[in-house]
Symmetry: C2
Subunit: 556 residues, 2 copies
């Protein structure tokens, strides 16, 4: 019988986190332990790391995924283990999971099979409390903002134009749209409101892009939370609470250190979704890894059109470093889906569908090469894949003269990714000529059009009436030189999740723009993308249990 | 210049938490470190402690406080330090602070001056994440409940009779009363709803009264969250999520170990408010302390009419141990207020007011003696107290033949409480004959009347129409044999916060009853008591800041 992820994880032995830190050249004095197997790096420790050399950066991204995911985290972890096995000192940098999907439906975000980060239960649950700190910081701003209005509204805030929402780190559709402040004047001011999931909070983005506590505070100050009756933006700085909110975030800001099953050190820090947010772990964690190791393997959420594009056009500008190679994860299963196969037929061999679905992978390869970066395709093997399907896919990739590797990291850990690791090392030795997709000085519509036409393969962009008005307003406010963070379905290059493969000649509608001045980008909302997921009919929570000694079961 | 609490705390040096654990006879293997100065005791560690003898239990309670508080935590900490200084191995058990008051107005809940627990910044902020786990557990129940309704409502829940509220650990009046589920059928089912502060959540009460993970799970299962259309209670067990909610709480359930400035080991675990909840730290922490030390000093929130009564009538039934002595903290300042002095005149000498205000202390002493327990009064000295005022108060207490001591623990730490410690040791040697205020088999009105007439000094209890209907309903449901948790203002014996001193011949109105079957008590809501506080005009948050190295300022 195949073991579940949690069974494999619980059967693995872990090294003490002090030993894992030593592997990365980090002294026990420079970490704060959270139990025996988790730690945060102190600010002193981060400062010491900055004096070291910067290693190679490998970005792992993917084709447009199926709802079950294509094993991107698993490949990231397995690749890190494989590089270490080959004698290259390697660190992994991943996002931390949100409890919303954990209690809902998705598998864990800590890898799978023999390519997992440990302790997987902790990582998938409260971990070191970062997401709770972000939730609290977000909601403290909301409470202080509404209190300001309640106590006389000295800043003249238009309560119909409060854009700061509250958040919970849960899938809770009931809170998407609410009216608060009801019942009596002592209960605040009645107004329409709503909750997002924590990972969609601008605080999460600020947290992930901040380079120090001071930088965090500066970013927090700039966050726009509302507009006055005469349409002037009101910021966290105007509320005089950037200090207090930084106080709530200062411990969370320290990157978290854990280990893989193979003992590879891994930073897991910050976790925005890539469909509704920018989708990468913190800049501080990636920086620390780059300084601590010869190779850093990191992932960006969902497909290369979402997390990948945002990593390259948003995160690298703050990180000060672009990838030396990009791994695109593909699966035979997902390509068959892109080739038109229905979900319940995916387990049957279908070579024609693989060939048809290759169009999706093909465009992602072209896109990454368009940034001037070397690409390696990782075919993440599933037990249902047939030899003929894999051969067909391999030939298509080989014909493009792109390096590729069949990986079996789920089943074998790092040993299943040694060939991939060798090809990644080779790719990192190529000379890359990175160029951004757009210049920051381009107008907002130009930047959005660049993403839509060059990355998505669409032909036109339509701005809703609301978005058109916002474009004028943003111009007046001087907010045009920021990068764009697209909010789009992860399942398709387009804004229609049913358009699989490599759709062409489609239009993307920008429903609304959201200024995220703290994060330093403008969010463009497309289609019906929601910033608060719901739970399925049978949530994953129904299977979970814990015994009297604290051992968890039913968590993936 | 007088140093602030945070300045004193930051100037203090701390022992490693492993050394503090050793002082309590707890092996480093039995703790999980959270940084160098905080730890949780593992379940194995708790099991080992249970094999040791049970020490003496000292409960610290108080007169009805002023809004600034009378220094109960400070006396608790100072008394613990003093007992250790006298050579009695002592532990302290305290509640963990809520972020709501921290960001709002109140001083920290980590003591003050030279009687503080450290690291005070961490303890007052996220600490080890327990309150966040409780918030998440509470809100996961809400999300899963609303999802059940949204997905077809198989349990036939009447959406007008959902009694489970969401929570945030913040003072956020805007969320007291809301309508959720608005906008579209995909956003859930529109219904009236509201948020409480986390410390008022039944999860907090369950958490504080649970004796093991299994017991936690059993309690969670019993929580009533709603009623069906035919008025049958719906529980967490009916939703089949007690396992998942226990998973979210299992780490939080381990007591947190820290130290005082003097190096006395202290458990800080669980933190319900005593006005809207039961007001004591966790049973697991108090048990662990009793087994680890010769003396355990613990506190109950607000006055002896609230936290004290609930400690004795609710917590001791789960703890299996009653106090060996009770310390009642009084201040000259607060007694003057009870004697009729206005807030802005409190700094002037007023012996007549001290004598008049003594009525408040007098009733609290009588009440505790009524339980059959030895009392020691601690007069917590403030710089504005005059010698004549202290003499007057001392005489009044001496005339009652009650032990008392003038303590200066704020200014001197344990050395300022040596006399108190000696008197407490003596009191613990008396033979106590504890008797409960009421029997569990008494009816709900009988139990409430016992509290109102014997503890509060009131004459009658009025039940609102709603409460009367609930009494019938609770009888039908078989919920009559639980203890009562009164929700009442902390400032007065009555339900009117302006009635200071020792009011008589008043009526208490029970507005509503709330069944808390997981916690195992019935909450009786009196007057306008709110379960979600608001922020003041100038919240404490406005003063807080953190520098680039992570040093916090402006936190008390």
């Amino acid at each position: 019988m195949v073991k579940s992820d949690i069974e494999i994880a619980q059967a693995s032995s872990m090294a003490l986190i002090t030993d894992i830190a030593s592997k990365a050249g980090i002294s026990p004095d420079d970490i704060e332990q959270y139990g025996k197997y988790k730690a945060k790096i102190t600010f002193d420790g981060l400062a010491k790391l900055q004096e070291r050399e910067t290693g190679k950066l490998v970005l792992v991204t993917a084709i447009n995924p199926t709802p079950a995911g294509e094993g991107k985290s698993t490949v990231t972890i397995g690749l890190g283990d494989a590089l270490n096995q080959l004698g290259h000192q390697t660190m992994i940098a991943l996002r931390e999971p949100s409890l919303g999907p954990v209690m809902g439906v998705k598998g864990g975000a800590a890898g799978g099979g023999y390519a997992q980060v440990l302790p997987m239960e902790d990582i998938n649950l409260h971990f070191t409390g970062d997401l709770h700190a972000i939730t609290t910081a977000n909601n403290a701003i909301a409470a202080l903002l509404d209190n300001h209005i309640h106590q006389g509204n000295a800043l003249n805030i238009d309560t119909r134009r409060v854009i700061w929402k509250r958040v919970v780190d849960l899938n809770d559709r009931q809170l998407r749209q609410i009216i608060g402040g009801l019942g009596s004047p002592i209960n605040g001011v009645p107004r329409e409101d709503g909750f997002d999931i924590t990972v969609a909070s601008e605080i999460m983005a600020v947290f992930c892009l901040a380079t120090s506590i001071d930088n965090l505070k500066t970013r927090l100050s700039k966050i726009v939370v509302a507009y006055t009756y005469d349409r002037k933006p009101v910021t966290v700085g105007d509320l005089e609470i950037a200090g207090a909110i930084s106080v709530l975030l200062k411990d969370a800001l320290k990157p978290n250190l854990v280990q893989t099953i193979a003992g590879t050190p891994a930073f897991i820090h910050g976790g925005p979704f890539a469909n509704i947010a920018h989708g990468c772990n913190s800049v501080l964690a990636t920086k620390a890894a780059l300084n601590a190791a010869e190779f850093t393997v990191t992932e960006a959420g969902f497909g290369a059109d979402l997390g990948g594009e945002k990593f390259l056009d948003i995160k690298t500008r703050e990180l000060g470093k672009t990838p030396d190679a990009v791994v695109i994860v593909a699966t035979v299963r997902a390509l068959k889906m892109h080739g038109g196969v229905a979900k319940h037929e995916l387990e049957k061999e279908n070579i024609a569908a693989v060939k048809a679905g290759f169009a999706n992978l093909n465009r992602h390869i072209d896109n990454i090469q368009g940034y001037g970066l070397p690409v390696v395709v990782a075919i993440n093997e599933f037990v249902t894949d047939t030899e003929a399907e894999i051969t067909a896919l391999s030939e298509l990739i080989a014909n493009k003269h792109v390096a590729f590797s069949l990986t079996q990291v789920w089943a074998k850990g790092g040993s299943g990714g040694l060939d991939l690791a060798e090809k990644v090392v080779n790719a990192c030795q190529e000379t890359s000529h990175f160029n951004y997709l757009y210049e920051l000085s381009d107008s907002i519509p130009e930047k959005i059009e660049a993403i839509v036409t060059k990355i998505y393969g669409g032909s036109t962009v339509t701005f809703s009436k609301k978005a058109q008005n916002q474009l004028k307003e943003f111009e007046q406010n001087g907010w045009t030189t920021l990068p764009i963070c697209m909010a789009k379905t992860q399942y398709s290059f387009s804004d229609d999740q049913t358009l699989l493969g490599a759709p062409e000649n489609f239009d993307i509608t920008i429903r609304e723009l959201v200024p995220k001045l703290g994060a330093g980008f403008i969010v463009a909302l497309t289609g019906d993308i929601m910033t608060m997921p719901g739970l399925p009919k049978k949530p994953a929570a129904l299977n979970m249990d814990v015994d009297n000694s604290g051992n968890i079961s039913g968590l993936f």
